[in-house]
């Protein structure tokens, strides 16, 4: 029997935070995937760590604005650095990204270990995997709290942060849907109409950085990439319509959040496991499971359907295009 107060205090904030992280990143991931720039989502979610740590060292705070500005600045710096490395060393984009993101992430870890940031719940474990379980709604009493704005304002900061970012992401996609589509499908044609495809790509990147910063508390730097890639890649296997893909990716993200959290919260008890499960990890595993299922069983592009139809009409490996930078 689940106690309502326990649910409101412990389960709901963590569940909502994990789900919104998957949703915000998954929605943006659609366009990263279509532009074959998913690895850039990975780079961004890694480099927000040094950004957040440096912002903390400068301001002594892990509040929303220092985190957002630090993470955003680090994302911009990393993109410039990736471009620079790519030109100067004349190597492929994937290698440049891999180099920059690991180096900057390592820098973040070093700074984190040497600084006093440990004291304020920023530690390496947290940075890697997030700490959904640490997100609690202190003082939640009953269901009426959910309708009381004054009580809702006392929701934990990571959850509020993610809620705002998710609304921002939805607005961004709603307003710029056709610009994002044309810039992703045919950037040269977009530019020939005076639509700045590169600028739109950079906006997408900044939005991804904001989503990565906001998801940092929930799922950490490592698992964020699962949120960016798995829901859209799952949806990509199931449809040939962009709007349907975006809708299905949102559905996959929400289901992964809810089922993943449920698995972490109740499976150890139900199955008598000796150790608890980290919810961030189970959400990523469920999201990956959805992708695996869709790769196998998607009605048209799934491996089984294609095997049945012979090799005719086969198309590219949608799930594995993360590294194919443009």
């Amino acid at each position: 029997m689940i106690d309502l107060r326990d649910f409101l205090e412990i389960d709901l904030p963590a569940l909502a935070t994990g789900t919104l992280a998957a949703l915000a990143c998954g929605l943006l991931g659609n366009f990263l995937l279509l532009q074959r720039r998913s690895l850039l989502g990975d780079a961004v979610s890694h480099v927000v760590l040094p950004g957040i740590v440096i912002a903390f060292l400068l301001t002594g705070s892990v509040g929303t604005w220092p985190m957002m500005l630090g993470g955003g600045a680090a994302a911009v710096a990393s993109v410039l650095l990736i471009d620079l490395v790519q030109r100067a060393a004349r190597i492929e984009p994937g290698a440049a990204m891999g180099m920059v993101l690991t180096t900057l992430f390592a820098l973040g870890v070093v700074l984190l270990e040497q600084s006093g940031a440990r004291a304020v719940h920023l530690d390496v474990q947290h940075a890697l995997m997030g700490s959904l379980e640490g997100i609690v709604w202190l003082g939640a009493r009953d269901a009426s709290d959910l309708l009381d704005p004054a009580r809702l304002a006392t929701l934990p900061e990571p959850l509020l942060r993610l809620a705002f970012v998710t609304v921002g992401v939805l607005l961004f996609l709603l307003l710029l849907r056709k610009e994002l589509a044309i810039a992703s499908f045919d950037p040269d044609h977009a530019r020939s109409l005076g639509i700045p495809a590169r600028g739109i790509g950079q906006l997408l990147l900044l939005a991804s950085a904001a989503a990565a910063v906001a998801s940092f508390d929930a799922v950490g730097a490592i698992l964020t990439i699962a949120m960016f890639v798995c829901p859209p890649a799952t949806a990509r296997m199931l449809t040939d319509r962009l709007s349907m893909q975006i809708g299905l990716s949102a559905l996959a993200a929400v289901l992964a959040g809810v089922l993943g959290y449920g698995l972490a919260a109740w499976a150890p008890l139900a199955l008598g496991l000796e150790r608890g499960l980290g919810a961030a990890g189970t959400i990523a595993v469920v999201a990956g499971g959805f992708l695996a299922l869709s790769i196998l069983f998607a009605p048209r592009y799934g491996a089984l359907a294609r095997a049945r139809a012979g090799s005719s009409g086969a198309r590219g490996d949608v799930g594995g295009e993360a590294g194919a930078g443009r």
């Binding site: 044309i182 499908f185 109409l193 005076g194 040939d240 319509r241």
Partner: protein, 268 residues
């Protein structure tokens, strides 16, 4: 030979009026990738209407010429004027059809939605594509004979059908000047007839169509004029005057074997 470049008037009163006589005037255009020149000091004036082929060997800078005209690749030097003004992409006066190989045909989008993209500059920022835009797009798709395939994902169309979708997208833009990159490359005979027919229709309606073309044998059948490029401009003018043995040898190298083109060449 090429008509001499006329000085472009910059008179105050004329600056904001379109000059229909000069859809495109390029002077001294040079483009380089890294240290390698791709185009060098190219002059070109497009006729008021008609079909112009851009010819030349692989790597001659044909596609780059179109991209540099549109400002899609940076030019080292040169001036581009369109209808008497610096080319403004947002005006929608110039429609561009990139090479078919330049886009991801697995993109989750239908033929109709691709054609509607030709209307995006007119729909404006932040505004959604509405039913009337899709109807306008459907009319253009009908013009290229693909109304039945409007809801197909574009990757499921043949190469020729994809090219027709691209052309319908340019038609939807209702531009004055059309820049087409290899519109006839690798397409079936039926699509070729449709594309050539529409290019002629555009020319007859007073539009200028400039197309990168690679098949020297068919140039004279389709185009009125041609520019022969190999980094530099080799020749420009009526097709018969451009495709001379001497010009072809200069463009393709002296080892170039004169086959079909000789038939259309009229030396002297």
């Amino acid at each position: 030979m090429a008509p001499p470049l006329q000085p472009v008037e910059g008179g105050v009163g004329l600056r904001h009026r379109l000059d229909p006589e000069r859809p495109l005037a390029v002077s001294g255009l040079s483009v380089a990738y890294h240290d390698r020149p791709v185009l060098w000091n190219v002059d070109f004036v497009a006729p008021r209407s008609g079909l112009v082929a851009i010819l030349g060997p692989n790597g001659a800078g044909k596609s780059t010429f179109l991209k540099a005209v549109l400002g899609l690749v940076p030019a080292l030097a040169g001036e581009i004027r369109s209808f008497g003004r610096p080319l403004d992409r947002r005006s929608g006066l110039v429609a561009y059809v990139p090479q078919r190989s330049s886009v991801d045909w697995e993109f989750p989008i239908t033929a109709l939605e691709v054609v509607a993209m030709g209307l995006y500059h007119r729909i404006g920022w932040f505004r959604p594509v509405r039913r009337r835009h899709l109807e306008a797009a459907r009319a253009q798709l009908d013009r290229v004979g693909l109304a039945d395939l409007a809801d197909r994902q574009i990757g499921q169309l043949s190469g020729g059908q994809q090219q027709r979708v691209f052309l319908a997208r340019a038609l939807a833009q209702d531009a004055r000047l059309y820049l087409l990159d290899e519109p006839l490359a690798g397409i079936d005979a039926a699509s070729e007839r449709v594309v050539i027919g529409l290019m002629r229709e555009l020319a007859a309606a007073g539009r200028t169509v400039i197309a990168v073309h690679h098949d020297l044998e068919s140039v004279a059948d389709v185009f009125d004029r041609a520019m022969l490029l190999n980094v530099r401009r080799i020749a420009e003018g009526p097709v018969a005057e451009v495709l001379t043995a001497g010009n072809l040898a200069r463009a393709y190298g002296s080892a170039f074997r004169l086959g079909g083109p000789v038939a259309v060449a009229s030396p002297g």
